[in-house]
């Protein structure tokens, strides 16, 4: 589903990704962990071309992400959820959700609304359809953001620390939605510090540090017996 080979990314002189190789299978849930500044977000953002890789090869759903490819075509298939929600503040929850299907997929209004309401029901916010984001809690906003990404019927979902900006009591409701998605067979790449989530739904965990993949494997295995000393240090800090 996602194939990454020798991915490099530099911001000016700062080399953030130093050769990432990684393969995500269909319906797989890959959890990416690592210290702050290790390049997790940059890696994720390369996968839907929010960042232009400096070099390397990325193939998503059979389409190579070279510079000729229509990036919008890729982004339609790859949903992304951000740490800071990034809901459109001038639109209600349902308007946030139907916008992209309407303007990008040219779905007609009734159909888009119907799908939008179904998605809101799925994330438990059917009755909040007509609320503006500033009237929703952080957890609710993030669930709307997930519904918004799903409305494009993506084949892959990227989550970048989607619960880090939330008050602790709201983390669970967002993780629950993500777990449902994983169970339904969505292909997911999830950057998170929620080790419980990684254990429960992660098929594989990738530990990134200083722009490379230091270690990867089955979550319980990696958490119980980290092979790389840096993984050990990192895990001892957060577990």
């Amino acid at each position: 589903m996602i194939f990454v080979k020798n991915l490099h990314k530099s911001f000016g002189k700062l080399e953030v990704l130093k050769g990432i190789d990684c393969h995500v299978h269909e319906k797989e849930v890959v959890v990416v962990i690592g210290p702050s500044g290790s390049g997790k977000s940059t890696f994720l953002r390369c996968l839907n071309k929010l960042e232009e890789p400096t070099s390397g090869e990325i193939i998503v759903d059979g389409i190579p992400l070279n510079s000729e490819v229509n990036v919008n075509a890729i982004r339609r298939e790859v949903g992304m959820v951000f740490q800071r929600f990034n809901l459109f503040p001038h639109m209600t929850a349902i308007q946030n959700i139907v916008l992209a299907p309407e303007v990008v997929r040219k779905t007609n209004k009734e159909e888009a609304r119907k799908i939008g309401l179904e998605l809101l029901a799925k994330v438990g916010l059917y009755d909040k359809a007509d609320e503006y984001p500033d009237r929703l809690s952080g957890g609710q906003q993030q669930r709307v953001a997930i519904a918004r990404a799903l409305a494009m019927k993506p084949k892959i979902m990227l989550f970048d620390e989607t619960t880090s900006a939330l008050d602790p009591e709201m983390v669970g409701e967002v993780l629950a939605v993500m777990k449902d998605l994983a169970r339904e067979g969505m292909t997911m790449v999830v950057v998170t510090h929620e080790m419980g989530f990684a254990r429960e739904v992660g098929d594989r965990v990738i530990f990134m540090d200083e722009g490379i993949i230091m270690e990867e494997g089955e979550p319980n295995e990696v958490f119980a017996n980290p092979k790389n000393p840096r993984t050990k240090v990192f895990l001892s800090k957060i577990l």
Binding site: N72, R75, N86, F88, P89
Partner: protein
């Protein structure tokens, strides 16, 4: 002082004031369109497009409006090799000159508004597969526009006042009308006070309208 002069000439002044409003409205319409394009060009990733916008903005902000009015007024007939000037040409030239000028200021207002929108907004839009243009149209500009209302209001007020410069090409707007009456009546103080009052009323009206728009749209500003 002869206040009768003012009272007698109120209707003529009102006619001048109306023309002032019309000239300003025309210039605003041109200025907003140019301003939007220049702001987008100014933010373009293409160097040449950006440089063009910067040159335009610098020129119209860095030279006097009075000079620009003359450049347009005399320049167009020369460039188009007209033998005589068409009737009412001065209105077209006047509105165009003011529109070109305000386009530069409005471009900067729009640019600041667009840049004030969090980058996450366009990233979210782009991550949903929207093109740059769609992201602008549906996500960025609606939010940016609200924030530009107060500075836009200021620009409209400045433009209305500056339209008095058009008297130099014999457009009978408010100031020109006042000057003519003074020439006839030799009552400069009361007449120019009346002219000032007319300007004040009009600028106040714009300010009120802007405040109203701000309140109306401001209600969902946090949204």
């Amino acid at each position: 002082m002869n206040w009768h002069v003012v009272v007698d000439n109120m209707p003529i002044l009102a006619k001048g004031a109306l023309l002032t409003l019309e000239l300003t409205a025309g210039a605003v319409a041109i200025g907003v369109v140019i301003g939007l394009f220049m702001a987008l060009a100014r933010l373009s990733k293409h160097k040449v497009v950006r440089a063009g916008a910067i040159a335009y903005i610098d020129f119209f902000r860095g030279t006097p409006l009075l000079v620009q009015i003359f450049l347009v007024y005399f320049g167009i007939p020369m460039l188009l090799k007209w033998q005589t000037m068409p009737d009412n040409y001065q209105y077209t030239a006047g509105i165009l000159a003011m529109g070109l000028n305000s386009g530069a200021y409005i471009a900067e207002i729009f640019r600041a508004g667009i840049q004030s929108i969090d980058r996450g907004q366009s990233e979210a839009a782009r991550s949903l597969g929207m093109t740059q243009a769609q992201a602008l149209r549906y996500v960025i500009l609606p939010q940016a526009f609200k924030r530009t209302i107060p500075p836009l209001g200021n620009e409209f007020i400045a433009l209305l006042k500056d339209s008095s410069l058009l008297s130099i090409i014999a457009i009978q707007e408010l100031f020109y009308t006042g000057k003519i009456i003074v020439g006839r009546t030799y009552q400069p103080l009361p007449m120019y006070m009346a002219v000032a009052l007319y300007y004040l009323v009009m600028t106040q009206l714009i300010a009120q309208w802007v405040a109203y728009m701000e309140r109306r749209l401001g209600k969902n500003d946090l949204r």
